[in-house]
């Protein structure tokens, strides 16, 4: 530890820390553009100048290591003058277009110019202009605004692992870009917008739509993958304007995948905003009363229920309670048919935790491509790889953005590892020998009480909660395949769009409850319009088993309602009224809702799955098209454009609308 005195305040920081970190420890705010705590230090903006005793000139605090007994001054005439000078140079070529800039109001340069900028410019020569670059459908560039902090270059190379950005030319002609025009093929590209301290990189879908100060901010959770990235939903009136990540060092650090960030325009399209009832073979609009009446009359006999991948825990719980009261054990939440063993929680969560990836020394990924299944987790793996983690991969060849070996399931790769880690893709269980794959993965991970490196990587935000709540076949109950094989007369699909609705036998009465009209809704006999994740207070459990709370940012469109309320109303119509009238009363019924944050899972005594022969069939990755894999993203024009640009082969042809 080194003792540093910052403006008379004594702080202790580790040896090797920078002066800037010492200043922050002392509570002093240091202006900066190029410095970012999660990127390497560049030291090229010079905004963080401070005065150090006995140093002949101001030093760039971000790149200056502390020494024991160092005296730092952050607010002296010398410091202020130096920063004013730096600011004047930064503004020389920066256009004065804040009124039409989307960064306006949340711009580091704007804020810091308030403190260190001159009121008028002394620069009488002509400003340079830089041609805008095309870097893909998500990021809008106004490169004249760029101040060459190189944060985007470092993010692309270090975190995203897609080193496409660079600074070409020199001096006055230096430009940040890709040199050869190309879209930045990263699932994390939206983060470039967040880290750009000026308006050079802004969100293309959000361009010219809102100002930050007119937005209402609501905390929520991204459910479009299983990482459980905490998000902030910015709304104006009844419209979601944009989605930004919040910081959680244990989950996302501060990154977020593009799918969760940019797909919200899908929430405004193809929505189910009123109940529908099938009459004479055609779906016709109906009132809630009519829909519930038909439901109460026809949802009888051998009934079953399937929940989808992005449903909140409250709705799952309510539907399970309803089915139990109807006496039906036919429940399933595994639309992909994954052979998940839910006897113990440790069998189906990400036991080592996301932050724990950095403690592992060897990682075996089985049947998964975390780059598209959980880009933020992949970024964490990449971070660990750069720090020494070794990775091997079982499955078809994939570009993970970091070096890895390709091995088979009979590998001895993890032998000898102090903290072995296995990431088993949920897709690897969705095959006939899934139970054997599960058993083999557990065996390879060698979990112990001190270190459990067995991790199941789920695909969507609602999957773990459904398992936690036991939305699985009860004693004698049928699973999805059994229900689709003619085992039921009536089927309740709660946001279940993950399987082919054509597999439902004719004659089965189908209730579809959800927010988007897709194939499952088209097959339904009664459609109950529900709320999307931005529209309800809900509890979500991420792949680690972290219980997270989300709040409603907007109201559901039209006559759509929160899902637990729909189920509660249906229960009354079916004559088995559920014993809760409010969300709070519902949450009292199950201990899951009392939990917050990461719920540690003890190591079970026995292994999961069934050891058995594993076929030579290669693993099939469940997500081939990152941008379009659930009803919300499939309805999103932004995601459709991304799929067209980045994955033309995987994207379906656009239907004529």
């Amino acid at each position: 530890m080194a003792k540093v005195i910052v403006d008379g305040i004594e702080v202790e920081v580790p040896q090797g820390a920078s002066v800037l970190q010492a200043c922050e420890a002392a509570g002093k705010e240091i202006p900066r553009f190029c410095y970012h705590e999660r990127l390497s230090v560049a030291g090229n903006c010079r905004m963080c100048l401070v005065e150090v005793e006995k140093a002949p000139k101001p030093v760039a605090s971000c790149a200056y290591p502390v020494m024991d007994g160092m005296k730092v001054f952050t607010d002296t005439p010398m410091v202020r003058n130096a920063r004013r000078g730096v600011m004047e140079f930064l503004l020389i070529n920066h256009p004065l277009d804040c009124p039409i800039c989307d960064q306006g109001g949340e711009c580091d340069l704007q804020d810091q110019a308030m403190a260190y900028g001159r009121d008028v410019s002394r620069f009488t020569e002509t400003k340079r202009a830089v041609k805008d670059k095309y870097v893909g459908p998500l990021i809008k560039t106004v490169m004249t605004r760029c101040i060459h902090c190189t944060r985007c270059i470092r993010f692309a190379a270090e975190v995203a692992g897609v080193p496409d950005l660079g600074a070409t030319g020199r001096g006055e002609t230096m430009e940040v870009g890709t040199y050869v025009e190309k879209a930045i093929a990263s699932e994390l590209s939206g983060n470039l917008i967040d880290i750009c301290p000026v308006g050079a990189l802004t969100s293309r879908p959000y361009a010219f739509t809102a100002r930050p100060w007119e937005l209402t901010k609501t905390d929520s959770i991204d459910v479009l993958d299983a990482t459980g990235v905490p998000i902030r939903i910015d709304t104006r009136g009844a419209e979601v304007m944009r989605i930004l990540p919040r910081q959680d060092d244990e989950v996302n650090e501060e990154w977020m995948g593009d799918r969760g960030r940019f797909s919200f325009d899908g929430l405004k399209r193809r929505r189910l905003d009123r109940p529908w009832v099938r009459r004479d073979g055609r779906l016709v609009p109906a009132t809630w009363g009519e829909a519930l009446e038909v439901l109460a009359r026809r949802f009888r006999g051998r009934v079953g229920a399937v929940v989808g991948d992005t449903v909140d825990a409250e709705a799952i719980f309510a539907l399970r309670e309803l089915m139990l009261r109807l006496g039906s054990p036919n429940l399933d939440c595994r639309q992909d048919g994954a052979k998940i063993d839910a006897r113990e929680r440790a069998y189906y969560v990400f036991n080592s935790t996301i932050a724990g990836i950095e403690q592992a020394d060897r990682l075996l990924i089985i049947g998964s491509n975390p780059r598209v299944e959980a880009p933020v987790i992949n970024a964490r793996i990449r971070k660990a790889v750069l720090a020494g983690l070794e990775v091997a991969h079982v499955g078809p060849p994939v570009d993970l953005t970091y070096p890895h070996r390709r091995v088979g399931l009979d590998t001895d790769f993890l032998e000898g590892a102090a903290r072995p880690m296995v990431i088993l893709g949920r897709g690897a269980l969705a095959r006939p020998d899934g139970a054997a794959v599960l058993a083999r993965a557990w065996e390879l991970a060698r979990p112990s009480a001190e270190w459990n490196g067995f991790n199941l990587l789920h695909l969507f935000g609602g999957q773990v909660a459904a398992l936690d709540l036991g939305f699985l076949p009860g004693p004698g109950g049928l699973d999805l395949a059994g229900m689709l094989a003619g085992g039921v007369d009536a089927l309740w699909l709660l946001g279940a769009d993950g399987f082919d609705a054509a597999r439902i036998p004719p004659g089965v009465f189908v209730v579809y409850q959800g927010h988007h009209g897709e194939a499952a809704a088209a097959r339904a006999d009664v459609i109950l319009p529900g709320a999307a994740y931005t529209e309800k207070d809900g509890t979500w459990v991420n792949t680690e088993g972290r219980v997270q709370q989300a709040f409603a940012a907007v109201v559901p469109p039209g006559e759509a309602r929160e899902d637990w309320k729909i189920i509660r109303a249906a229960s009354a119509a079916l004559g088995v009224t559920l014993p809760f009238d409010t969300l709070a009363e519902l949450r009292e019924q199950h201990p899951l809702f009392a939990l917050r944050g990461l719920v540690r899972t003890p190591l079970p005594d026995s292994p999961p799955g069934e050891p058995g022969p594993i076929s030579d069939e290669p693993f099939v990755l469940p997500i081939r098209n990152y941008w379009q894999c659930d009803p919300i993203t499939r309805a999103s024009p932004t995601m459709a454009e991304c799929a067209r640009v980045f994955a033309p082969a995987a994207a379906p042809a656009l239907a004529a609308e």
């Binding site: 660079g166 070409t168 030319g169 020199r170």
Partner: protein
């Protein structure tokens, strides 16, 4: 970018050089060889096309050879003016315009280049494709200012007439011996050495 070739491959002469260059750098640090390799590309292009420049396809080849992202090669190639990213004339006339040369008549040298080579100005190539004229910063030969660098050769102590004569000679396909054009020995004083005369 229409002049960009679709592909590039090192020829046998360049290939023979590459292992020698790579051997200069420690294992795992091959990316350090990016500048020598770009020079190799430029020389090969001079041999093959008569125009010493670095096409984009060649930068990609260099990136692949050195296992580095292509953008890192583009960054280096665009940073150094010594790499020509567009085709140039057969002779690259590089007039030093920095203060000592300017005071000693660099502007006359520039004018002579324009007149004799038929080039409109700095950054231009003559209509016959023989000459590309560039104004460069200090070439480090201030003692013998003004200086004109033709490809890799320095011609020093120039004035208008001697520059014209030099360019006429180049046009005839000759290569006058590089160095001072007034017979100065190395960078000794004009009219002969004044010290170390015994050496």
């Amino acid at each position: 970018m229409s002049e960009q070739p679709d592909s590039f491959a090192f020829d046998a002469e360049s290939e023979a050089q590459i292992p020698k260059i790579l051997a200069r750098y420690p294992a795992g640090k091959q990316a350090s060889a990016v500048i020598p390799l770009l020079y190799l590309v430029q020389e090969q292009m001079r041999r093959q096309t008569g125009s010493a420049w670095v096409p984009k396809a060649a930068m990609d080849v260099v990136a692949q050879r050195l296992s580095m992202p292509p953008i890192r090669v583009y960054e280096v190639a665009t940073f150094y003016y010594m790499f020509n990213l567009r085709p140039i004339g057969r002779y690259h006339l590089q007039v030093c315009g920095t203060t000592p040369c300017m005071l000693r008549g660099a502007e006359e040298v520039m004018r002579a280049c324009c007149d004799a080579a038929g080039v409109k100005g700095p950054g231009q190539t003559s209509a016959d494709g023989l000459f590309t004229l560039t104004e460069v910063e200090c070439l480090g030969a201030c003692v013998n200012a003004p200086v004109l660098q033709v490809d890799e050769d320095y011609y020093e102590d120039l004035d208008y007439d001697r520059t014209v004569a030099l360019i006429e000679a180049l046009k005839r396909g000759e290569r006058p011996p590089p160095g001072s054009t007034i017979g100065r020995q190395g960078s000794a004083a004009e009219g002969g050495p004044t010290s170390l005369t015994e050496v």
